[in-house]
Subunit: 251 residues, 6 copies
């Protein structure tokens, strides 16, 4: 399978899988932080949609136009759709209620089961931590029925909010991670292709290699090829122990 | 359904569910700490076996004979089997390698997928924390092929070790909990009956009520009736996000 | 004693007890988070005053007018007075210095010994965490003599700031709690009545039961009926160990 | 008042204050770690007794005989009595159940309200952390009615276990401290005298100055002269907020 | 050497030491929080520059004019230069991107190797924590080549960001400290003189003594006279273990 | 340079570098956990000695004889010497004072500046955590002048104890790491060769790749090729900030 072919998801019981909504502060954050998880979910028939909150206009490399195109292509390679919104602009994001309400409106419109956001660890690109906090509040506000700003959209309660970590520094220290197995060759290929689609970013620094190395190291702990860590904002609730048939205890 | 009728598990795909092995320091620890989870698993067709490491001979109430009988009855009510082993005796448990090797032998014999043990938080009954640490080591030693003490038993790698907390003080503060839904009326009934089977312990202090109150409070957070928190020793590894369709974010 | 009769405090050495000032983001936060503590303090002769920073106008149920009336009635049932202030409005609260200065002015006016505020844990209603941080700063600014914005009011140094947790998620993980015994029947009754006074909120969801369950679980740990946990912002300073005659070590 | 005059406690309501029992691994640990608290309590009419678990026979300076004499004199200066027990010997202490049972017997005999023990932080003199853990278990075993080893002594439930930190490294990081005000001149004098009584230890290294400096720094935070930090093993339970009239929020 | 003589640094290989840039929220923060470190660095030939973000106009004592003069004199005593900038004013500082960009511009202009900022612990003067967070972001933005607001200044990547703690409460609990030895008599003298230069602040409260006491206590742990703790924002990277020839393990 | 040629250290000021003493529970722990650091230190002229506390006789692969030979060869490749001691045997190590005293004797004999030990994180091979705790105590006992068991050897105070983590799970969460740059090609080569020398262990599982991947990931954070994280047991004490010319803040 060529690296650049978009995912062709096997439509396994799509009716059962509520949509996934992923937020990114910059055009490549979702792909680098958890692209393999997206590929895995869309392959399983889950719909995935990206909300990208800047066009990377303060980045060292790439024009906003280039970056928008790269992000759209990357999303397609992962089987996802993407939209761009303007909050305060790249590097200029503020933690404000108005943003949380706006994102809550998007949550109400998209009605996802699972929401992904950058982690709230503060020692990283400031837009990441702030967006993570904004999304956490937005996911809550989305279900508040009395919020007048959003009265035109019916309330929606998501199932889960997971944080992804764009870099190792962003991994939260106070949440136990969940590892998602992304070892299947087509998943790794789709993820790699989606990262590589951000050509303006990968020309000078080997970000792709960094992420694959991280995933391989987590995979080694789980006795598999590659894994991506997600950090649940709230305790997982399970009907039984049946789905927990694997643990990262290889060493 | 009368409270005292043993669980009649619906044999749903028992072939797929690896056995569960639960360790308790005293005859009632497993039931009080996570009995509802046991009921839920055996109901789903998973085999469950208890290893009880003392006969509660230092307890304020109940003779060893009474307590052994109560534990056997409680296990049966949960659909589980039970065996008793003698380590150092009630209140006298030491953290020793010989115990870990002995329990590793039991793990090799039972070949469980999931192991349950009391948490390692130190501010609780000292036997609990020590047994938790011993089981953690035992679950590791069980897979070490070169361990001569156990050469008569083939190595076995478990999938997961989860800690349960007999009391609130025993809940680990550095592990994110997983909530298991035990709200189904027959599960609550079986759990309640199993706890009540320890008549020597429940006559004077309302331990049953304590546990149901804990479970109801966790359930409220998850928007369900009752839940029991387990604390995974290692990161969960999942094939996808599909099983994570619920989160404890009701408030 | 009927549930709806206001507290009649026994005026025990009121001169010695500095007033208590409690801040709430919404009309029912103080009652649900720590109403039993308020009842206990006013019963002992301490004056208590509530500052409520919105009228709950974004809530799913209840009009601002209804909620204001409910809050006033609830405060009266606890033996406290209440005032409403407008910051940014329900769900719209921002963390701003201007708010901290405004609340510092209220602290200077009320001159409390003890201040209560919602906890600063971020994974809860966003207004709660922000108000907690604003009050923490306000309690500090209240004693800064050179602050020109407040030069018309003499500086005031409070004795203690305690955080209360409206829901279990809001309990801070890095502060050891102090349990306040609220087991006395008249205290439980007054607290229950004050919560129930928020009829618009309690019609659909059993919040009252949640709080009583939490209190009963903490009480069980302390060997008493009901307890409420408060989280001191600063180390307690005591003249001796004499007042510490009880500990939550029942299990 | 000369530094070397024993405390003459003002017998203020001694009936109400349950005895205090302090454990030390070496002859000077209690005095250096929390001597000021002892002085404060005995001055208030509380009986205090020291159980010293070695004679410091592995210390660099001082013979066991000298050190025993110094400890007795120091205890007297603080208004306390002292006894010596032999566990495994200085530097040789092991964490064993037999020791916990033995100390539980002492707790049953002394029937204290408050127990003091060295903290369980591991990066300190190994005897300290181990004794702290042994005492924590002992305080629990003391109330277990069925423990045959101690059947000759009626069970006893203490009110509180507090840890003291002999050095800054031993301060637990996961427990919020309680500061005890030891600023009164006669308390500082008695504490200083008790530390100085350990002449064999203070000749070469200025341990006395270290402790007074620590106490002065904590005192500065509380706006008082000197304070000693204790670390409660369990949540404090209070009848009301009345005793909490002071907080360490001076900066 | 008189306390008030400015440092005369021994010009040891100044070419190799990249400049140090220290940020303070108020005219005396740097001196009280880490003045001894500044003295040590300038003595070794490193250039040091202070950026002071208010004139202390909300302080209880001292006029802005007095405080500016005191800060300049104190900086000179430490061998440093100082400049004043106006953000939102004393006590009024907000956490805003515009401030981070402005400070990033200063970082690009000064091109430091090491940056010092107040810690981000929230329970302290609110300006301190906010400035710490602003500087953390600024140090990152300084190296982002595409930031249009700063396109007139070439990007600059600092080597290290260290936090200092103006008071004990401000010491971060989740970062292991590094102790800098400031025991040399001329360093202690220069530091003391720089603190004493803030006469308007030291007249009423003994802040100088507080800081020297803190430094003496840390020094005691390291077996030296005085030490100041810094808290690295990122892991230290060393060519080898050679520079790590001393550890704080005296007790 | 062939992978299997022993290190030829450049004898840079060997007089100044106190010896390094590394403890391992099994024949390959030191090499896998921190072999690159050893290579870097011996290259700089520091003497390094390994104390290996079992012959790996419980390992799945390799005989004790083979493993002893492999370890000796690996040590030589890193420029270090090695000795074997017998404590309780592989997998059978107990945490006992007698072991700490014995290792303290070795510390007194070797008189190292720096000691390396496996981390004390409990969720790893049980021998590792126990040995880490034993070494921590041993490093302390080594300087206790009055310890009769060791009176034949003069006391010795080490400078630093660093923990290494054989696997990612073993990395302590409560200590900030220090990254040692091991990027130089000859260092990587020597480290790789030393790990590869453990042929009995590397035949079936790619442990070498795991460690190099870990080192590359840390290196990426520091902007270099490879780095190894060490975890200081005590605060670092530095004469100045001069040695801290690099930080892991590349992302």
């Amino acid at each position: 399978m060529p690296l650049t072919a978009p995912m062709k998801p096997t439509q396994k019981s799509p009716a059962k899988l509520a949509p996934l909504l992923a937020f990114g502060a910059h055009p490549d954050d979702i792909e680098f932080g958890c692209g393999g998880v997206i590929a895995r979910e869309t392959q399983a028939g889950r719909k995935a949609h990206f909300v990208i909150c800047s066009r990377g206009e303060a980045g060292t490399h790439g024009t906003p136009k280039q970056r928008t195109a790269e992000a759209k292509r990357a999303a397609a390679l992962l089987g996802a759709t993407a939209e761009f919104i303007e909050l305060d602009g790249d590097v200029h994001l503020e933690f404000r209620v108005a943003h949380a309400i706006r994102l809550a409106g998007i949550v109400r419109r998209a009605r996802p089961g699972i929401v992904l956001a950058p982690s709230v660890a503060e020692n990283q690109h400031p837009d990441h931590a702030k967006l993570g906090r904004i999304v956490r509040d937005a996911a809550r506000l989305a279900r508040y029925g009395g919020l007048k700003d959003l009265r035109h959209l019916p309330p929606h309660a998501i199932e889960h909010l997971f944080f992804y970590a764009v870099t190792p520094e962003a991994e939260p220290r106070d949440i136990s991670p969940v590892f998602i197995d992304v070892s299947a060759p087509d998943i790794v290929a789709a993820w790699t292709a989606a990262m590589a689609a951000h050509r303006s970013q990968t020309a000078t620094r080997n970000y792709v290699d960094l992420q694959l190395t991280r995933a391989r190291l987590l995979g080694a702990r789980a006795g598999i090829g590659h894994a991506i860590a997600l950090f649940p904002n709230d305790p997982l609730v399970l009907d039984s122990l049946a789905p927990l048939s694997r643990g990262a205890r290889h060493f």
